[in-house]
């Protein structure tokens, strides 16, 4: 079966201009991820992991090369097209959870759907409740984000990333700010979702133990993919 790859990156480069100097952060990345894969992205700070995730997440434009997610080319597309694509097909989990502090856990989870439809639909509310239940936070649904612990916030962020049932979730150091117990719990959650829903994950991490629990480990160094293990 010739399934469209989840992610297909060819000759990807990204330059950052700092005054008169130009720093090349990605230096010709080649990468293919199949749908439903659970991939760990490892590498030292400055190796280009976050930049790669930002480009795959359509939050940043590459300098050159091609990027396809679910077969759709994301290079040169209009901002509105990228925004809609991101909303429908990509979920994010950030290291600092990044919830909206003045909103409840349920409202945070619902946000991607409400932003898409322009209102909070009953069906979206029900799905958000179900997702909170799934991450073990049904009793915290009406708590403001600012009233939750770090681990709870990150689980809300995971639930939010799944709200629009995306095919790809990009997780940038999702356990970086958590204690071991919370980190394990969040990681197990991602593994469970991957196996039950078939959602593809690209998880950036420094933690070899976390990476070992993924199906595939990609090592980045100096803006390139240095190793790719299954």
């Amino acid at each position: 079966m010739n399934e469209v790859p989840l992610v297909e990156v060819r000759d990807l480069t990204k330059d950052y201009a700092e005054g008169e100097n130009v720093a090349r952060v990605l230096k010709g990345v080649q990468l293919t991820v199949a749908q439903g894969e659970l991939v760990a992205l490892l590498g030292p700070s400055g190796s280009g992991k976050s930049t790669l995730l930002n480009i795959l997440g359509t939050l940043m434009r590459p300098t050159s090369g091609s990027v396809r997610v679910l077969g759709q080319s994301l290079v040169g597309a209009e901002d509105l097209v990228l925004t809609e694509f991101r909303n429908r097909h990509i979920g994010f989990v950030f290291q600092a959870h990044l919830l909206l502090p003045d909103f409840t856990a349920l409202e945070n989870v619902m946000f991607p759907a409400a932003a898409r439809h322009g209102r909070e639909r009953h069906t979206d509310r029900a799905r958000a409740s179900e997702l909170l239940d799934r991450v073990g936070l049904s009793d915290r649904r009406d708590y403001l984000a600012s009233q939750l612990s770090g681990g709870q916030k990150q689980r809300v962020a995971v639930a939010r990333s799944l709200m629009n049932a995306p095919e790809l979730v990009l997780a940038d150091e999702p356990t970086g700010n958590l204690d071991r117990e919370s980190a394990d719990r969040v990681m197990q959650l991602l593994i469970d979702i991957n196996s039950s829903d078939g959602t593809g994950f690209l998880i950036s991490t420094h933690d070899e133990n976390i990476a070992a629990r993924c199906q595939r480990q990609i090592y980045m160094a100096d803006g390139r993919i240095a190793d790719d293990r299954r």
Binding site: L80, N87, F92, A96, L98, F103, P112, A115, N164
Partner: protein, 400 residues
């Protein structure tokens, strides 16, 4: 849109203190706007009431007698010249009365005989303007009854009601007799029946009201009238009524605005000054809202970045901030206009002010305009911050 309203409302209620301060600031600006509207409008009502209240809104007179060209003669002009000897009068005045009375907006019509003359008391002589009028009509145009300072306004044959300035210059009081001599050199002996003071020097220092039958003898005008004076139910309609009357009667009809150009100029200048102050109030509101929302965009940069990362479009972000501006504008507008109305309500209308009081007119607070302009201004003020917010780079806003 519904969701944008929810987010905007949440942002405003999340920082209650700041939002309240912002709304109060807008309300103060709107209050100034409303107060200035009521003050400028009230001043205009007062001035018009004090000035136009004592004069006719439209004067209907015989048409001007311009020179008439008789015959075209090459190299010469043959014309009948305008007579300066014959006084223009409405000879068949009674025929015009029903036409004038039937004209829309006309509420009162008074026929008058006018002429000039002198009043003599011993060695004192004063030039006077003689008005012959039916006894019942004496207060129909200028409210002589309410302006009496001595005697009564009853116009019997042989009595006169005169202005206070004239009485003072001649040194006469009620009950005293004196001689009045018209421009036709007819003399009568009259008794002062009443003295009034309208507060308008031109009238108080020269006006003499006589019974119309006595005036006919004195002015040697046995029939007809000098003019009709008309009062309207809406004095702002004077120009259109004058035009209507010209068309209906063929007579000369002049609106009060055309006889009081200086008053109109003054009122216009006053209105412009008021508009300028209201404009400044509006600009202050706009700057206040714009700066507050701009601060809000900087403070909420990271949240805007999160929303954008979650798939909120730039249009969504713009809407959230514009709605915040609109809510602040609407709330401040309604609060300021409401407070303005409540604080202006105890003031009596300027026409009822007995002098010395602040002539604010709560009916002219322009509350609707204040709210609408503030809302429009607030929306305009929020566009720049909203645009700035929508251009925030999610990667930079979220940070490493």
């Amino acid at each position: 849109m519904l969701y944008s309203i929810k987010i905007a409302t949440r942002y405003l209620t999340a920082t209650r203190g700041q939002s309240l301060l912002l709304v109060v600031g807008v309300a103060v600006g709107v209050y100034v706007f409303v107060f200035m509207s009521a003050l400028i409008g009230g001043l205009a009502v007062l001035l018009i009431d004090r000035t136009v209240g004592s004069i006719a809104h439209v004067i209907v007179e015989p048409p001007d007698r311009n020179p008439v060209l008789l015959q075209e003669v090459p190299g010469a002009l043959l014309a009948v010249l305008k007579s300066s000897q014959q006084r223009p009068t409405l000879q068949s005045a009674a025929a015009y009365l029903p036409v004038i009375e039937a004209t829309p907006h006309v509420s009162v019509v008074v026929g008058k005989l006018l002429g000039n003359g002198f009043m003599v008391k011993g060695e004192a002589v004063a030039p006077v303007q003689i008005t012959g009028i039916e006894d019942k009509d004496i207060s129909a145009i200028a409210d002589i009854d309410s302006s009496l300072v001595a005697g009564s306004s009853e116009l019997m044959l042989g009595t006169a009601v005169i202005g206070s300035g004239l009485a003072e210059s001649l040194g006469v009081g009620v009950g005293q007799s004196l001689v009045i001599r018209s421009e036709r050199n007819v003399e009568q002996s009259i008794t002062i029946g009443g003295i009034f003071e309208l507060g308008l020097a031109a009238i108080d220092e020269a006006a003499v009201y006589l019974n119309i039958r006595a005036a006919r003898v004195l002015l040697a005008l046995p029939e007809g009238l000098s003019r009709y004076e008309v009062k309207l139910d809406d004095l702002q309609q004077a120009r259109s009524v004058a035009e209507d009357l010209r068309a209906r009667t063929g007579l000369k009809a002049t609106a009060w605005q055309d006889q009081n150009a200086q008053l109109l100029e003054g009122l216009t200048a006053q209105a412009r000054s008021g508009d300028l102050i209201k404009g400044f109030a509006l600009v202050t509101i706009i700057i206040g809202i714009a700066s507050a929302l701009l601060l809000s965009t900087y403070r909420r940069q990271s949240e805007i970045g999160i929303m954008r990362a979650m798939g909120a479009s730039r249009g969504f972000v713009v809407t959230v901030f514009v709605i915040q501006g609109a809510i602040v504008g609407l709330a401040g507008g309604v609060l300021g206009a409401g407070l303005g109305f409540l604080s202006l309500l105890p003031f009596p209308p300027p026409e009822m002010t007995s002098g010395g009081g602040l002539p604010v007119d709560y009916r002219q607070g322009a509350y609707g305009a204040a709210i609408a302009l503030t809302l429009a201004g607030a929306i305009a003020a929020s566009i720049w911050p909203a645009y700035t917010a929508s251009r925030i780079d999610p990667v930079k806003a979220i940070g490493p």
